[in-house]
């Protein structure tokens, strides 16, 4: 039981007028109508219920060991590739992402970053640099300005080496806990002459074992630097962050700036190709390959765009954009070149690696193509129709669902692309 006298609490209870200031600005009636406007309709729920996915058949005791096996495998992989993440795959071998406002990135599971800057994973921490908004919902150590900040749930703004906490709690390098509204910035020293040295009691407490700076020969004044206001941190794009990032990183950020300013597909692809030529060993060269290949779909002749996509797939096998590259390649081969056989390898990849409608669509095209290519082989045609019957047409778009129905029932149907 506390030894504090009761008046300590009673004298610090919020007053009625103070509580009144924390009013909910949302109109309750508007909120109720918002709720109803975004609630799934009865028809939507019925449609989802009709698509109940089938659980795996043949439950085996081996399932009990699967998670353990997976965990051991991941540990083995991490021991070989210490900078690999178990969340989103890195965009390049060195795991550095250039973060953009329109491409928020979940750097590791539980950490998402938006804004302008860079994010990377180094051993057990996420290294951040730039003007960023960071959302954390899993235990993590963030390295900001070379200093560690730990949290398991928070929203914070980062500007260079300064931090402002919007929500949650963050442990600062000096051991203090920062909560909503708190700001943190490293101490700076300004050499002036002659002034008495700052008393030791005024210096911010340092974590045990943290390096200390030797005082300048002249007197030292400790002046904390205020970080920018949280509201301005993302809204006002600024020059690249403090320090001197590599030229390749600056150039990549500039290129994405130009894209945001309105480069069309062709010019964007040319800029990406120029970047690769100038910085062939850049951590972003691979992403430049992927984005240029995808962008080419919008302007290049189908054969050229398809060649670029397949080149990107060959160069970047297993990369983070592989599914999108295959999706685009399958579409080009089928819709633009009318060559379902050329689309088939790409559709197979999508069918094996996508989910939901994307997977079902790829399965349909594979079956329709097999039906078309079956020619006079009744066994192949029968196998293709069997595959079509197994597909749930309720999740397909209407035109494709109709094509499937026709192919299922019309013995003379050649499986032409709808």
């Amino acid at each position: 039981m506390s030894d504090l006298p009761p008046w300590v609490r009673s004298s610090t209870e919020p007053r009625r007028d103070e509580l009144a200031r924390f009013s909910d600005p949302t109109d309750p009636e508007a909120l109720r109508r918002v709720r109803e406007a975004t609630a799934p309709s009865a028809a939507e729920v019925a449609r989802l219920l009709a698509r109940a996915p089938a659980p795996r058949r043949g439950f085996s005791p081996l399932w009990a060991g699967a998670p353990l096996l997976l965990a051991v495998s991941l540990l083995l992989v991490r021991s070989v590739l210490p900078t690999a993440t178990t969340g989103a795959p890195p965009a390049d071998p060195e795991g550095v992402h250039v973060v953009r406002v329109d491409l928020p990135w979940e750097v590791v599971p539980g950490v998402r970053v938006e804004g302008r800057g860079t994010a990377s994973v180094d051993a057990d921490r996420v290294v951040l640099d730039g003007i960023l908004r960071v959302h954390v919902w899993a235990p993590v150590t963030l390295e900001i300005g070379g200093r560690p900040f730990t949290t398991r749930d928070a929203e914070l703004h980062v500007a260079g080496d300064a931090v402002a906490v919007v929500a949650g709690a963050v442990r600062a390098p000096d051991g203090r806990f920062l909560v909503s509204g708190d700001r943190w910035a490293p101490e700076t020293t300004v050499a002036t002459a002659p002034l008495p040295a700052a008393p030791a009691s005024r210096a911010a407490p340092r974590a045990e074992g943290a390096p200390t700076r030797p005082p300048a020969p002249e007197a030292v004044v400790v002046a904390p630097v205020a970080p920018p206001a949280p509201e301005a941190a993302v809204a006002a794009p600024v020059d690249p962050p403090s320090g001197t990032p590599p030229d390749a990183v600056v150039a990549w950020a500039d290129l994405l700036d130009q894209h945001e300013a309105g480069l069309d597909g062709a010019r964007f692809a040319r800029a990406l190709d120029g970047y690769r030529a100038q910085y062939p060993h850049s951590p972003f060269a691979g992403e430049a390959v992927d984005l240029a290949a995808l962008a080419s779909v919008s302007f290049a002749p189908a054969a050229d765009a398809l060649a670029r996509l397949e080149e990107a797939l060959a160069l970047r096998a297993g990369g983070p954009r592989t599914l999108e590259l295959h999706t685009a390649a399958a579409w080009l081969a089928r819709e633009e070149r009318k060559d379902c056989a050329a689309a088939a390898p790409h559709d197979r990849f999508v069918a094996a690696n996508a989910s939901g409608r994307a997977r079902a669509t790829a399965e349909v095209f594979l079956a329709l193509c097999a039906l078309r290519e079956s020619g006079s082989d009744p066994a192949r045609a029968a196998a293709a129709r069997e595959a079509l019957r197994a597909i749930d047409t309720r999740i397909l778009d209407a035109a494709l669902a109709a094509a499937v129905e026709r192919a299922r029932t019309d013995p003379g149907h050649e499986g032409a692309t709808p």
Partner: protein, 192 residues
Amino acid sequence: MDRSEPDTLGALRALEPRAVDRFYREHAPSVLGWVIRLGGHRLDADDVAHQVFEVALNRLPTFRGESSERTWLYGITRRVVANARRKGAIWAFVGLESLFASDPGPSPEHTSGLAGQRRRVQEALEALPFAQREVVVLLDIEERPAPEVATMLQIPVGTVYSRAHHARRAFADALARAGLTAETVVLAGGVG
């Protein structure tokens, strides 16, 4: 259903059809609602909700029941929604949204009537950072108790209130900018 009873949990982990069917029917409306409200208008809510259940069914054999089924499903939903949003962003980034993204775009059919209204509300929600959007959706729109929201988001109750304080003001502003007031928002006949 709060925590799964031992018999129910065992049946779920064994993927017994009746248990799985009960699980699906009980939680489908909630999952679909979360996807609509958290995922924004660019996502095909039906498809993403289906993906959530595909993931859930694959993981049910390892579900230990330490959290409620709803909390567990919500964790899966936010991951699937985040992945779907990121993939959708790539198509928009390379200018291929019209070919490969599920959102049909602001055609007249999708800007008028109830569909258009839902889109505008979703855009107002998207004006919030994801962490604030979650709190508005769970605490205010779905009216779940703060302790339950804290459990679902795995954050302290105080953080729920803190985020709600910032989120409500931002959401009120976003609704006002979208011209959505009590008078302009009409009933959609939703189920919850």
